[in-house]
């Protein structure tokens, strides 16, 4: 009897709780949540809070920083001799002028007059010689450098009080673009604490960092150019699962790389800005393993996968379908038509599979890094599409470090879904990795014509001719169906409606120097 009474009470309590929770949730949704967010108090002191998921758990030394997340922040603190503008043009930065010798092998840089480091010291020709030698690996101090593409530099010499000559082993039309990354930043010579307290020449200067908590930078008042509009920026390291809560609470004013679901939750309160991520998401196939060593099978996979459906499902339609290892923002190298080379056609796919001797399909594993929901989800959609042609794809989620060491480094995989980008504004950054003997050729792509075209392209000094050669390489990747290319995703950024001036670049950086608070809300 007593037991019956207890369970009765339990039921009543449980029901009451459920009902009240539902009521709360329902009632709240229709009220304050939909109103645009106000400008926070810190707007008055010209400060900004930005949420980032990935901590700068890297060396802060720009020459050593590899992770995209660190480079994204470094763009605000460091500059090379030249830098990229939002249009993708290479413009002067630390150097105010560059002269190239007629044969294209000697570049003479004139250092900008009056330019200073964050520590107040003037930038000298010695600093430039030191910086470029160091990031090109010419200093014999045994350290690695992140800029693997500067190996064409033979010597760096001071040729005048404020001029520096850089000599290349052979002419290279892409050379300036290589110098335009923070991996080739100009830093003071003889400064020891670059890894923990970095000093550069950018519009913001480093203030402090606390691991897994924040990274703070302030406006650099003596910047040579227009300079930052904000006085202080604090990056808060917040797990992406807590972004929506942090945006809704007003703790952060700007947050990039949101997923479609997250955007849906904050779109009423925040301005959503979007631009492509400048990366190539694809089902990357290990061209060296059965059955992907057969071009017919690879092409069959291309026909069997509906790109648009993947984009709709994973990104709510926010993506641009692509057909080779090049993204649309890279205007002159991008070939739009390749996206439609293999239009979705299940019959054709089956026919190709039969031709290749896999009429009954086959099984393979798609290994995806679990920290990228957009790649995991794309893998899942792809797997279900492949069922229709009789192919069973099993999804295996692995941790990022495991992916890097097993899949990327060990090349021990069938297929994987990831996105590749480039740290330099060059076509080589996207295409060189698939040359047959390249260390980063994860998919073991091996095509003699492709290799030959690449050699020809880098040696080429005529920009138009070079562009044409790179385009031919993209065609080969598409025709050979090296990978099943899917899309360049949209990067969606939630911005407080009282902010203005966010500009996108054709590479993976977030420029905060142009961002400013305004009096009026964009909502």
């Amino acid at each position: 009897m007593k037991k019956g009474f207890k369970s009765f009470i339990l039921m009543v309590l449980a029901l009451t709780m459920t009902v009240s929770l539902c009521a709360c949730a329902g009632g709240k949704d229709t009220s304050a949540d939909n109103e645009a967010i106000e400008a926070p108090e810190r707007a008055a002191t010209n400060e900004l809070n930005v949420a980032i998921a990935q901590d700068l758990d890297d060396s802060l030394d720009p020459h050593l920083a590899v992770s995209a997340g660190t480079r994204e922040v470094n763009f605000n603190i460091f500059e090379g001799l030249v830098k990229a503008d939002s249009e993708g043009n290479i413009v002067p930065a630390v150097a105010e002028k560059v002269d190239v010798s007629p044969d294209g092998t000697v570049y003479t840089f004139t250092i900008r007059e009056g330019i200073k480091f964050h520590n107040g010291e003037a930038v000298t020709a010695d600093d430039v010689v030191f910086s470029i030698s160091r990031c090109a690996g010419l200093l014999d101090d045994g350290s690695y450098t992140a800029a693997s593409s500067l190996s064409t530099i033979v010597s760096v010499e001071k040729s005048g009080d404020n001029t520096v000559d850089i000599t290349l082993s052979s002419a290279n039309a892409e050379f300036l673009a290589y110098l335009a990354t923070t991996n080739a930043a100009i830093i003071p010579e003889g400064y020891e604490d670059q890894a923990t307290a970095p000093v550069g020449t950018g519009p913001f200067k480093y203030v402090s960092r606390s691991p897994q908590e924040n990274f703070v930078m302030e406006k650099f008042d003596e910047y040579w150019g227009e300079g930052a509009k904000l006085d202080k920026v604090t990056y808060l390291i917040i797990d992406s699962g807590s972004w929506v809560m942090s945006l809704k609470s007003g703790a952060v004013d700007l947050c990039a790389h949101l997923t479609a679901d997250q955007v849906a939750s904050v779109a009423d309160q925040y301005t959503i800005e979007k631009d492509t991520m400048k990366l190539v998401q694809a089902l990357y196939l290990n061209n060296a393993v059965e059955p992907f060593n057969n071009v017919l099978v690879r092409q069959a996979l291309c026909y069997a996968i509906d790109k648009q459906a993947v984009i709709d499902f994973v990104c709510d339609g926010n993506g641009v379908p692509i057909g080779s290892s090049m993204f649309p923002a890279f205007g002159k190298y991008y070939i739009e038509e390749l996206a439609d080379m293999y239009s979705y056609n299940v019959e054709k796919a089956k026919q190709l599979l039969t031709e290749a001797g896999y009429a009954d399909g086959f099984k393979f594993t798609i290994t995806v890094p679990s920290n990228y929901p957009q790649h995991v989800q794309a893998g899942e959609v792809i797997a279900s599409m492949l069922q229709q042609v009789g192919i069973t794809a099993e999804i295996k989620q692995v941790e990022w470090s495991t992916w890097v060491s097993d899949v990327y480094g060990g090349r021990n995989f069938d297929a994987t879904v990831v996105g590749f980008d480039t740290s330099t504004l060059t076509a080589s950054g996207m295409l060189q990795r698939w040359t047959s003997d390249h260390g980063k050729n994860m998919i073991n792509f091996n095509n003699a014509e492709y290799d030959a075209l690449y050699k020809q392209a880098v040696a080429c000094t005529d920009v138009d001719e070079q562009t044409e050669l790179f385009k031919q390489m993209e065609m080969i990747l598409a025709e050979e169906a090296a990978n099943v290319y899917i899309q360049d995703l949209y990067d969606m950024v939630a911005v407080n409606p009282y902010l203005e001036g966010l500009t996108f670049y054709p590479m993976y950086v977030l420029d905060l120097s142009t961002v400013a608070w305004t009096e009026t809300s964009a909502k």
Partner: protein
């Protein structure tokens, strides 16, 4: 005396074993600090060069004893990912997780002791039944879920704290404690329910004892007997629970720190595992193991204090 020596030897052996196991785990799982640092910029040659530079290509035991030697001399090394001194990094995080854990622990003790006694005294009455049911429900919520509910209810709806805007203890100490209140409560709540239930039944058993009747027959008030005699006896089994709870709290804080974006030891540990940053992981793991062993040791001493009949040996 013999007892203390034995305890200290156990502590040393445990820490040694734990550190060796943690170190070994890093050898077994795929990827190392070098692959993590280079990421997709890795080529076999560059990996080799970086490993050489970091000393990662030395034999496992050489690396371990090298680390051990430095550690014993108080040098925890430098973080592979942050290039900062591990001692400094952990030193800055320790007050955060320490405050969070302590707050949680105090909540558990302060609420569960009176509540358990009160429930024991009123066992079977309606408020006790209701509290029991509520406790049962609370117990079944995992802390991370409670954490999410708290951020929604107390953070977003009631605006009692700003989710994501952690306030550092160096900036504003009361603000810091204020931010930690809800994370601490999320960890504490299920434990409060468990401790209360345990104490309630322990009190019920003790109330049946002869000494209670004797004390009552000598004219002592019921409440006074409850507090002066029953509680002391009833606490013995509960103290063990509190002790194990302390270890659970520290473990629970690892997850709660993620939910509330609290930059403490837990977040540092998790990210360091992801980064294969073993100097940091080793230091934290050894610290946590030491904590558990020491807490157990203190528990033994507490028994003796509560019930002098028990002798540690």
């Amino acid at each position: 005396m013999k007892y203390y020596i034995k305890k200290i030897i156990t502590l040393i052996i445990t820490l040694f074993a734990v550190s060796l196991l943690a170190f070994w785990a890093f050898q077994v799982i795929p990827g190392d600090a070098a692959t993590h640092i280079l990421g997709t910029e890795a080529t076999p040659e560059r990996l080799e060069a970086l490993r050489e530079q970091m000393g990662l290509n030395r034999p496992f035991l050489v690396q371990y004893f090298d680390w051990l030697k430095d550690f014993l001399f108080g040098d925890m090394g430098t973080s592979y990912s942050y290039h900062m001194s591990v001692k400094e990094m952990i030193g800055a995080k320790l007050p955060i997780t320490g405050a969070l854990s302590l707050m949680s622990f105090l909540m558990i003790v302060i609420v569960s002791i009176p509540l358990g006694m009160w429930q024991g005294k009123h066992a079977g009455e309606l408020p006790d039944v209701a509290a029991g049911v509520l406790g049962q429900i609370t117990m079944s919520f995992p802390p991370f879920f409670l954490g999410m509910i708290f951020t929604l209810v107390f953070g977003l709806w009631l605006n009692l704290f700003t989710q994501g805007q952690f306030i550092s203890y160096t900036e504003n100490f009361s603000g810091f404690l204020g931010y930690l209140f809800f994370p601490a409560l999320a960890i504490a709540l299920p434990k409060i329910a468990m401790a209360t239930k345990l104490l309630r039944s322990s009190v019920l058993v003790e109330l049946q004892q002869d000494y209670v009747r004797t004390a009552r027959s000598r004219g002592r008030k019921f409440n006074s007997v409850l507090v002066k005699h029953v509680l002391r006896n009833a606490l013995i089994p509960v103290v063990t629970f509190y002790a194990t709870t302390l270890a659970d709290i520290v473990a629970g804080s690892i997850i709660i720190e993620q939910v509330f974006s609290v930059p403490g030891i837990g977040r540092l540990l998790l990210s360091s595992i992801m980064n294969r940053d073993f100097p940091v992981v080793q230091a934290i793991v050894v610290m946590m193991a030491a904590l558990v062993v020491i807490v157990n040791f203190i528990t033994d001493l507490l028994y003796q204090f509560i019930d002098p009949r028990i002798k540690v040996q």
